[in-house]
């Protein structure tokens, strides 16, 4: 009873609510601005939480995380510049919708899907944290390779017309990921003697370059039009959209898959959104509509990345193992108050855990309100003339790429990848697989090399070692089925076109 009173007092205090609102709104803003992203925002806000009640501080940070997972979709949909890796897939269908004058539709689909995804993620966290974390523990390096392989095969669905162009882009991303000092080795690769390259090619400047900067380059080269989209914006009917959305099982499927991917160590919102977008297209009856303004693309991508927020908190709270960069920052935010995350946290600090878990629902609600009420403001971006929009976004790109590592070299990377992005667009090579390859390539390498060392130490053959892991065998067959169905899907799209 006493616990309940404390939890209620934390949750009903206006201070907590104010901090959540600050966190979520800040998150939506950093997510939407190309160049700034959730992890940076969370790290910057962290020192301010030291003096707060631990649950309130953590809720503010998670609110920011939640808000930024949604915010990226706004700029992705309206001006085709996904601010974060999580929104890359949202742009694939969101921007074509804006071009058709249906930008408002897209934004309503995005906020509704994000909200449902966010709720599902938190429900998963609240109900299944202990059991899911035990399953996550069972996934060792060999199993992770299979999961990553499944992700890499999503290139097949991200490619559009020509699968070989997609494979080229994916391979290019993997190659970029091999530059610099690896996790596994102290010697630099492909640095050609340049010290700056030893640090590797960082993800965020590449994303900013490929998507935001290149889009601005293309816009500034365009001769016609004074705005991004000159077509008149149609009004949207949110109630109607919500009814359609709730009837579509895709939103729930993507939310659940997204939450589960969030639980996996080293994965996160970006991988969840890539995976769910690919899966939605794979299982769709009309995959040829994807990439041309299909609302299902937005639904899959946006529900997945918000569901991953709750999912990523599972190993953190239940095992004390932060699975991603953002989770590691949150881990620090909990530790500093003398609370050690782990299985005993539910016994030792029930007030903290339950206020936090229930408070997570508040962050979803606040995100919904900010997103829903903000739509009429967001679409004003479309009224901005290119002469103002282009330089502003380029300035943001420069600032954002610099701010990650405080490196002027990263500004150069953004510009170079801006040019590469323009070339890719001219040659009709999809850019999304580059991001997928860059994220998953080094992850695959790490897990493969760890597996090799572990197998060598066990002094058995690879086959023998794998046969001793039932989970590996199960996942292996699932992967085979999955690959088979992707290939069949590609054939089907091809034959439809002929």
């Amino acid at each position: 009873m006493n616990h309940l009173e404390i939890i209620l007092s934390i949750l009903t205090s206006p201070i907590t609510l104010i901090y959540i609102i600050i966190g979520v709104t800040g998150g939506v803003v950093v997510g939407a601005l190309p160049g700034l992203s959730g992890p940076i925002g969370v790290a910057l806000l962290l020192p301010f939480t030291y003096g707060m009640d631990p649950a309130t501080g953590l809720l503010m940070l998670c609110g920011l995380y939640m808000g930024s997972s949604y915010g990226g979709s706004i700029s992705a949909i309206l001006i085709n510049t996904p601010g974060t890796a999580m929104a890359v897939c949202t742009a694939l269908d969101g921007f074509p919708l804006t071009c058709q004058g249906r930008g408002k539709d897209a934004l309503y689909y995005s906020i509704f899907s994000s909200t449902i995804g966010g709720f599902v993620g938190v429900v998963v966290l609240l109900l299944f944290a202990p059991s899911l974390s035990i399953i996550a523990l069972r996934l060792g390096p060999p199993e992770m390779i299979l999961v990553i392989m499944a992700g890499l095969f999503m290139v097949g669905t991200l490619s559009g017309e020509d699968i070989f162009k997609g494979i080229f882009a994916g391979a290019f991303g993997i190659l970029l990921g091999t530059i610099g000092l690896g996790v596994m080795s102290g010697s630099p690769r492909f640095s050609f003697g340049f010290r700056l390259l030893e640090a590797g090619i960082p993800l965020i400047p590449v994303i900013i370059g490929l998507f935001a900067t290149s889009e601005m380059f293309i816009l500034s080269m365009r001769v016609v039009g004074i705005r991004v989209v000159d077509r008149k914006l149609q009004e949207a009917n949110p109630v109607d959209i919500f009814k359609k959305l709730i009837k579509n099982p895709l939103v729930f499927k993507s939310s659940i898959i997204g939450a589960l991917i969030g639980v996996l160590p080293g994965a996160g919102g970006a991988i969840a959104s890539f995976f769910c977008y690919g899966e939605a297209k794979r299982s769709s009856k009309t995959p040829e509509l994807y990439g041309k303004g299909c609302v299902e693309g937005i639904i899959a991508s946006e529900s997945a990345n918000n569901a991953a927020v709750g999912g990523s908190m599972v190993p953190l709270l239940a095992l004390g193992i932060p699975g991603s960069t953002t989770a590691a920052v949150l881990y620090g935010a909990i530790l500093i108050h003398g609370i050690v995350p782990g299985p005993r946290i539910f016994v030792n600090n029930p007030d903290f855990v339950y206020s936090f878990l229930i408070g997570m629902f508040f962050t979803v609600i606040v995100m919904f309100l900010v997103g829903y009420l903000g739509i009429n403001w967001f679409v004003k971006t479309l009224k901005v003339k290119l002469v103002y929009l282009v330089p502003s976004v380029i300035a943001l790109c420069v600032f954002g790429s610099y701010s990650v590592r405080h490196s002027r070299f990263d500004i150069l990377i953004t510009i170079i990848f801006g040019i590469i992005g323009v070339i890719f667009k001219r040659l009709e090579i999809p850019a999304a697989p580059v991001v997928l390859g860059l994220i998953l390539g080094s992850l695959a390498e790490k897990n493969l090399r760890q597996t090799m060392i572990i197998v060598r130490a066990a002094q058995t053959s690879l086959l023998e070692y794998f046969l001793g892991r039932p989970l590996f065998i199960g996942l292996f067959f699932a992967l085979c089925l999955f690959i088979f169905s992707i290939i069949r899907g590609l054939r089907r799209v091809k034959s439809k076109r002929l």
Binding site: P39, I40, V42, A43, L44, L46, Y50, L137, G140, P141, G180, L181, V183, M184, G186, S187, P188, R195, E198, A199, P202, P265, G266, L319, G320, I321, P322, G323, T325, A328, V329, G332, L335, I336, G338, V340, P341, G342, P343, R344, V387, Y388, P391, S392, I394, A395, V398, F399, R405, H406, S407, K446, R449, Q450, I453, I454, R456, A457, A458, Q459
Partner: protein, 326 residues
């Protein structure tokens, strides 16, 4: 078009201003903000430690200390930037000096040496632990006996160079051969151990405590003395292994070589004020919460300690260069 260019120009100027450093005179110190380079990511262990200490020191110095996370190449890029900055006390660095000692031992063209930086003071010196879930390995004695009987069959995860140096020295002194699995973070090591994928892991105290809570055991501490947070865990020395050195997480504040003594004195003086005042107690509590071991050192005491450590680590790393490069 002209308006477009003017607008772009104004925005570029604003951006440059936002990211550049203000310039002023430094007749008496400090008169303007001090930059502190932390060569690791924002929100990570080093960053949190550093920002906590900075929040106390800036109150004493009376100016803001602005953290700049310059990451990459296991911290070397940020440290290089520190050595290339003006030695005027307005650029400081916060990192584990032992990491840099190891790196300069096996990387030929690092672009700096530890002679280019002066360590000033530090509030924490945190030893690493080895954890396991395997009952047949749960003490140092059992661990070594088993590893001797099964050479190369015991897997142990490690994060960076500091962990690796400890494991290699343990192998050498105990006469064992382990299979070393590199991982990206202590959290990943804990995950692999608790999931039964590797048998042991080198981790920092907060993960060692988590392991114990979940039914794992701490085999030993890479430290000369037991640590307060884990009073029941023996050091490897106590378990009869005569390690030539232990590498700890020795996070110190540094300035570039050539910084005037008068400025160094002012900074160190400020840190002493923090350590001896009520703020020091608060800092100690917070550092302990995030898994650190509070141990304030500065001046000659620190200089001595760092020099001795360097003399032990450098020849060891040079001798085992290819193991670090592997």
């Amino acid at each position: 078009m002209k308006r477009y260019l003017t607008y772009l120009f104004v925005l570029l100027i604003l951006t440059v201003l936002a990211v550049s450093v203000s310039v002023g005179s430094d007749l008496d110190y400090p008169t303007r903000n001090i930059n502190v380079i932390i060569p690791y990511g924002a929100g990570g262990g080093s960053d949190t430690d550093g920002r906590l200490a900075i929040s106390k020191i800036e109150k004493v110095l009376g100016v803001s200390m602005v953290v700049k996370n310059v990451t990459g190449a296991a911290g070397a890029i940020g440290v290089r930037e520190l050595t290339e900055s003006d030695p005027d006390g307005y650029t400081m660095g916060f990192f584990n000096i032992a990491d840099m000692m190891i790196r300069q031992g096996y990387v030929d063209d690092l672009g700096f040496t530890t002679a280019d930086i002066i360590p000033l003071f530090g509030f924490s010196d945190t030893p690493y632990e080895i954890i396991t879930k395997d009952e047949k390995l749960n003490t140092a004695e059992k661990f070594i006996e088993y590893a001797k009987e099964n050479p190369g069959m015991v897997t142990i995860s490690r994060v960076g160079d500091a962990h690796l140096a400890n494991v290699l020295e343990l192998e050498k002194r105990a006469g064992i051969v382990l299979s070393i699995v590199p991982v990206e973070s202590g959290a990943e090591g804990l995950n692999l151990v608790m999931g039964g994928h590797v048998q042991a892991a080198v981790v920092a105290p907060q993960f060692a405590i988590s392991a114990e809570e979940q039914g794992g055991s701490i085999i030993g501490v890479f430290s000369e003395e037991r640590i307060d947070r884990l009073p029941h865990v023996p050091t490897f020395y106590e378990s009869g292994i005569d390690l030539g050195f232990v590498v700890t997480s020795l996070r110190l504040f540094h300035v570039p070589a050539g910084t005037p003594d008068s400025i160094i004195d002012i900074i160190v003086e400020a840190s002493i004020k923090v350590a001896e005042g009520p703020e020091g107690e608060d800092l100690k509590e917070k550092l302990t919460n995030i898994g650190g071991v509070y141990n304030y050192r500065s001046g000659a005491e620190l200089k001595d300690y760092v020099e001795k450590l360097g003399k032990k680590i450098t020849p060891f790393v040079k001798e085992n260069k290819n193991l670090f490069l592997e």
